[in-house]
């Protein structure tokens, strides 16, 4: 597909999205905002998992870091939520950097276990420190605007997704992205050719966790309630499932997966809380038989 055609398609989709809120009710807008939130999370998780081959279980935790940082700053210190989100993003990025430096030297399993450990520690601390986080009751936080408007939030999340995709696009199509692919193709050969494998992975991980933090912050101030559910393994699973089903390692796959699953979830909910089980089974099948996901199916690959 030529670049010109690609740009036209992107513009068309952007146009559709831009005009969408005009015809939709609050419930549908709500679903779309959720889709956008997960799209940001899935796309940023994919940067690390799909493009550098590291499975992180701390992505939802980083979203939680962003959400709680911003929320607590707003509630306890009266910070403007916008500023809070910026700070939350930075804190999440810093946490990602530290964890990345700690365990990316050591190889895949260690990163997975450390991120797992980190996410559990965070969850436990948040649940226990009732005084500052309100524990399982949830932290009530202010909105991003004086008059709450789902339409406004839709545009904000859309903008955030676009920024996310632009950042990821820049990274992937730069020399860094080239190095990512090299490392994924053959890590040993890449190192022998001068690729600083560890630095490449740490950089991806830091950007990824910062983006998660941003998503968490934005979503928290949308829901107006931040709970320990945000940094939980359940959420992590959903992000993973969306990326796997949509297409790990492809650019648009995670976004497609996020939209597909969240819209589907609404239909499944009519029958009961089975969506996690359904997504799990589908993700299992996809990961086992169609590792390139839905996007891969479209391109005729397996």
């Amino acid at each position: 597909m030529s670049n010109r055609n690609k740009s036209l398609i992107v513009l068309a989709i952007a146009g559709v999205f831009g005009l969408l809120p005009l015809g939709l009710d609050d419930y549908r807008l709500h679903v779309l905002v959720i889709c956008l939130n997960y799209a940001i999370l899935a796309a940023s998780w994919n940067l690390v998992a799909g493009y550098t081959g590291q499975v992180s279980f701390a992505h939802a935790a980083f979203a939680g870091v962003g959400a709680y940082t911003s929320g607590m700053l707003a509630v306890h210190l009266g910070f403007n939520p916008w500023l809070g989100i910026v700070i939350g993003t930075a804190v999440a990025g810093l946490a990602g950097f530290l964890i990345g430096v700690l365990c990316l030297r050591m190889g895949g399993i260690y990163l997975s276990l450390t991120t797992l450990g980190f996410s559990q520690i965070l969850h436990i601390v948040i649940t226990n420190e009732y005084e500052i986080t309100r524990g399982t009751m949830g932290l009530q936080v202010p909105a991003l605007m004086s008059v709450y408007s789902k339409t406004a939030y839709f545009y904000i999340m859309l903008a955030a997704l676009i920024v996310t995709l632009l950042i990821i696009h820049r990274i992937i199509y730069s020399n860094t992205g080239l190095n990512f692919r090299a490392v994924q193709n053959d890590e040993t050969a890449a190192a022998a050719l001068g690729v600083n494998v560890v630095r490449v992975r740490v950089m991806a991980f830091t950007v990824s966790s910062a983006l998660a933090g941003m998503a968490g912050g934005l979503f928290g101030h949308y829901l107006l309630l931040i709970t320990p559910q945000i940094p939980s393994l359940d959420q992590q699973f959903l992000v993973l499932a969306m990326t796997v089903i949509g297409g790990m390692g492809s650019f648009i796959g995670p976004v497609i997966g996020a939209f597909m699953l969240n819209i589907l979830a609404e239909y499944i909910r009519a029958y009961g809380e089975y969506h996690v089980l359904v997504f799990g089974l589908v993700a299992l099948l996809m990961a086992r038989f169609f590792p390139h996901g839905v996007v891969g199916l479209f391109k005729g690959k397996r």
Binding site: V55, L102, S112, G280, A287
Partner: protein, 285 residues
Amino acid sequence: MFPLAVTNGLVMGVIYALAALGVSLVVGIMRVINFAHGELFILAGYFSYLFAITLGWHFLPAMIMAVLLVFCLGLLIESTLIRPTYGHEMYSLILTFILSIVLQNAYLLIFGPYPQKPPAWISGSTHVLGLFYYGNQRLAALLAGTLIIAAVFSVLKFTWFGKILRAASQDREMAQFNGVNTTRLNMLSFGLGCALAGTAGVILAPVFPVTPSAGVHVALTAFVIVVLGGMGSMWGCVIGGLILGLVENLGAAFVSTGYKHIFGFMILILVLLIRPAGLFGRKEI
């Protein structure tokens, strides 16, 4: 308070060690981490409940059958899900993680959210060392766990099969050159790993409630123990398991019950910071 916490720590420690041995076996031979380890642990608990309560069997055959079923399930999982991912560490992580969630939700659907409890083998309590009273079932669990760990060590050290396992975990390629059927070895090892998880599960089930997500903590703790003890070290699993059981229970008793589960993860981070190879692990991974 202290002796009670210590005894609890020993009981949990032995259970954790068993679960960790299962993880270590699979990691050592196949370089695969099975995220669904906890779900197999708890499945054995559910099975022993089914056989003992619903079908009315005596607790011993119920437990044995439960472990056997989990073993078979392990063989199935290895051949259908894990085997195709050999060489791609990332995929087995993802697959077993998804499997873990699927199983948890399946258990919720099938068994419901309320805790199930297989029957105790022995009732009453003992006056331990004249200091405190302790449930006999827990003491029996401690004994059973210790015996099984000893059995595992004996099999590894003295049987021909155990020697193959140890050789394969040290140098896979050499084992292959020496005629070991690595495909079948992988399948058996995975099954055994699951069986060990199941054994830990049936021993613990009469004491602690069997709920759909109760296995998560056990699996995570087992992973921490394998890192703490050192990948590939059996003794590391035992010592690590005991350390974790003790730290958790002493921590819960003297520091905070809410933070009970955090100690394991803090130990994990400390190990990775200070000595990633763990207590007994090989320096080069």
